[in-house]
Amino acid sequence: MSYNVDEKGYYGQFGGAFIPEMLYPNTDELRRQYIEIMEAPDFQEEFRQLLRDYVGRPTPLYFAKRLSDTFNTKIYLKREDLCHTGAHKVNNTIGQILLAKRLGKNRIIAETGAGQHGVATATVCALMGIECVVYMGEVDIARQAPNVARMKMLGATVKPATSGSRTLKDATNEAIRDWINNPVNTHYIIGSVVGPHPYPDMVARFQSVISEEVQQQLIEKEGTPNPDYVVACVGGGSNAAGLYYHYLDNPEVGIIAVEAAGKGIHTGESAATSALGKVGIIHGSKTLLMQTGDGQITEPYSISAGLDYPGVGPMHANLYTSGRGEFISITDKEAMEAGLLVSKLEGIIPAIETSHAFAIFDHRSFKPEDIVVFNLSGRGDKDLQTYIDYFKL
């Protein structure tokens, strides 16, 4: 049994394409072509070259000595925070913009929550000279002003999502509606391993450069491609999918997924989808999602705007229910303190999303000889105001 996607677009019972017929031609076009396009030598050449020269890959795999000493295990950090635009998101947007060009699309749409994926999309659209429209919840526009400004500087149009709770899930709805209304010339760059098949697999493949590099880098440093554990935070789950990808079916490597508990799992203000979610359909995918007993999707909460998605990618839903992945939820408080600790011990200010991953040491221990690779998925610049407010800096 594989933990990767099957030919029908499912991870175990999760995934598929639960979309209205209006979207069928769009996703069908992608489904039929994405693997062939991605595997073509000229695509790979262009993709790899941009990852190297524009994004700055390979990103370092850094042995975090002081952190390792503190927790008495061997901690490596995969430095996705050093990617252009400050997070792993750009790996996917580079891939998808090249794919969109080969599909003959001349207009790009995207959804964004905190604005990181919006910025990464606006960036590659500027790079390629393609029109870009980013949907962002009205509430998020108000609280993420710097990223809104960045997108505008990059030439994108930022459209407010004014329906529902006016956050990420509604921005995603609006992007899907735009795609329904513009089925021919537009490509939708989804930012995470969510949405209808083939998106979860396509995004995971673009992000899989992360674990591909970890394998090579770990051979140099430890003489083995396999760490004992890979650890990543999970909102929709794209950075986690990238770090897990080449280890999914390797039982020697433990998979740890860290979700946002918000103010606590049972406070009603949480984004811990594995703990609180039930099987359902969100944004065209069958997965675990937070919903009422009546099947209405609920609004999650986390101090980190990148983790407050009410669903989780189908790959992760399957890792959770099958037991292949170990899921830990971390509160706002634990995450913020872990972020501060990593800053002080390693001189790296992580994004608050990433900080959640570093808070697992209060929840589980590792052996001194364990090799634990963390995905340092983003840098904390965008979160400075939140850190300032929280710690009264």
Partner: protein, 256 residues
């Protein structure tokens, strides 16, 4: 015989109305259905509200949000519809998104529909292949027809496939759009209506999206069996409430 199948054999053009259950007021569901039948509507789609209606434009999004805020739920809708067949004879269809049905339990949902006298379901985000593999048997057991959508972008090959799998009618979405996005039909739609008309499908087609008045109803039903009005009716309800529903209906289709 299923009421939908029977109605489709009628000679005339059919007018079907969509509205959101629990809107404008929570308790309006039954009285709107009764008033629609009295006004000469041929078929009704009862919208089961959903928090994230991604195929719908602002009008139906807002009516759904309002209905949920009013307290509408699947269980309550079934409660309200109990006994509806004592007064209403025309076909009744429940239209909604798949997640609330999944949470209620597909089998249980179908059973309730059958008890009430619902004739069919339209669940746009339940894909054809999943329906056939997992749910068709359950629907059939409870006498429910499942209607599928086609759009101007749907290939001939897929339309044939959908026609084969269909029961009742084919829901023909008039343009590549969300609901309520466009009004009126251009040459592109006329061409699409012609194309579908000339395909001689086994199942009659009912056109939806973009129909708001007598003119668009007539255009849509030149080749198709009928047409569905949703957003325009909800706008009317928002503006005028439940009174004068018959005025709205009669402005579109003069009863035979």
């Amino acid at each position: 015989m299923n009421r939908i199948t029977e109605k489709l054999k009628d000679g005339g053009k059919l007018l079907s109305i969509y509205f959101t259950a629990g809107y404008p007021q929570l308790e309006d569901t039954v009285s709107i259905i009764e008033e629609l039948e009295r006004s000469g509507v041929d078929m009704i789609e009862i919208g089961l509200p959903f928090s994230d209606p991604l195929a719908d434009g602002p009008t139906i999004q807002e009516s759904s949000t309002a209905a949920l805020r009013n307290g509408m739920s699947t269980a309550l809708l079934f409660e309200q519809l109990k006994g509806i067949r004592n007064s209403v004879k025309i076909p009744l269809i429940i239209m909604g998104y798949f997640n609330p049905v999944l949470q209620y339990g597909v089998e249980e949902f179908c059973l309730k529909c059958a008890e009430i006298g619902i004739d069919g379901l339209i669940l746009p985000d339940l894909p054809l292949d999943v329906y056939q593999e997992q749910y068709e048997e359950i629907f059939k057991k409870h006498g429910l027809l499942n209607m599928f959508l086609i759009t101007p972008q749907t290939s001939d090959e897929r339309i044939r496939q959908i026609d084969e799998a269909s029961e009742g009618f084919i829901y023909m979405v008039s343009s590549a759009s969300t609901t309520g996005a466009k009004s009126g039909f251009g040459p592109e739609q006329q061409q699409y209506f012609e194309r579908i008309g000339s395909m001689q499908l086994k199942h009659p087609q009912i056109v939806g999206f973009g129909i708001s008045n007598a003119e668009t109803f007539d255009q849509a039903t030149q080749r198709a069996k009928g047409a569905i009005i949703g957003s325009a009716f909800i706008k009317f309800l928002t503006r005028e409430g439940k009174k004068n529903i018959d005025k709205f209906i009669k402005s579109i289709k003069v009863p035979a």
